[in-house]
């Protein structure tokens, strides 16, 4: 019984794949075993070196998707403050705006007649 799958672009053999997996596993273990075994877990020894400063929490160093627009939002802070206040999430407020603006437009268009 042959385990080799031959395709136009090459061949695939799971036994060979497992052999290479084991080989790379051994190489990885050899590299790992050359490491320093005397380090102490759950101490400063496993933390990154930041010029002696404490490591900030993940929340503080995380770049959020919204941070892409940070400069834009910061520059137009006054405008966004008003806009966010208007966005109450209440449908009745939106209908009121709709009717109010509609009334103003209607007044401009036919009010002078």
């Amino acid at each position: 019984m042959s385990f080799t799958l031959t395709t136009p672009s090459g061949f695939w053999n799971p036994l060979l794949w497992l052999l290479f997996l084991a080989l790379f596993g051994i190489i990885a273990y050899l590299i790992y075993s050359r490491g320093n075994p005397s380090y102490k877990k759950d101490t400063e020894q496993i933390k990154p070196y930041l010029s002696g400063n404490p490591e900030p929490t993940k929340e503080k160093v995380q770049v959020k998707a919204g941070d892409i627009y940070w400069g834009f939002i910061e520059a137009l802070k006054g405008y966004y403050k008003v806009l966010q206040a208007i966005h109450t999430g209440d449908m009745r407020d939106y209908i009121l705006w709709y009717l109010g603006i509609g009334a103003i437009i209607t007044f401009i268009l036919i009010g002078g007649v």
């Binding site: 075994p37 005397s38 400063e44 070196y49």
Partner: protein, 148 residues
């Protein structure tokens, strides 16, 4: 002086300058540059305490830097040694008992070798490093003994 027996690896050094006036720092550089050339023996400065065997500290340590120095020391892998270069770190020097000084250094972290001087000569610094090396070898043997 003891005999170096263990050349399993080169000695890597991290230099923490805590409010130093640069005199000691420039002597450390003199140790590494071609006249004394400690790099011949693999003694070199590294950019992170996590790669270092020896911590070189210069200067009287200001209060703001004390916790950072402690953290740097704690991040070094074992076995490790601390060498204080110059009078400021050794005793406080001319800054002794100043309101903004947290030192001498041995009040912040454990110190293994003192190299007094203002600034100490490169020969004295090399001697201090050799003493630190001997200490590290002894600690390494102790660690190996514990592992067995």
């Amino acid at each position: 002086m003891g005999k170096l027996t263990n050349f399993k690896r080169s000695l890597w050094v991290f230099h923490a300058s805590g409010g130093s006036c640069n005199a000691c720092d420039i002597e450390i550089v003199a140790v590494l540059t071609p006249r004394y050339d400690a790099e011949r023996f693999g003694i070199k400065l590294v950019g992170s305490p996590r790669h270092a065997d020896v911590l070189l500290v210069t200067g009287a340590i200001p209060r703001d830097f004390a916790d950072k120095l402690r953290r740097i020391y704690e991040q070094m892998p074992d076995p490790k040694a601390v060498v204080v270069i110059g009078n400021c770190g050794t005793t406080g020097g001319v800054f002794y008992d100043s309101y903004n000084i947290a030192g001498p250094i041995d009040e912040i972290i454990p110190v293994d070798v003192y190299v007094p001087g203002c600034p100490p000569r490169p020969e004295a610094i090399i001697d201090g490093i050799v003493k630190a090396w001997l200490k590290i070898e002894r600690l390494e043997k102790e660690l190996e003994g514990k592992e067995k």
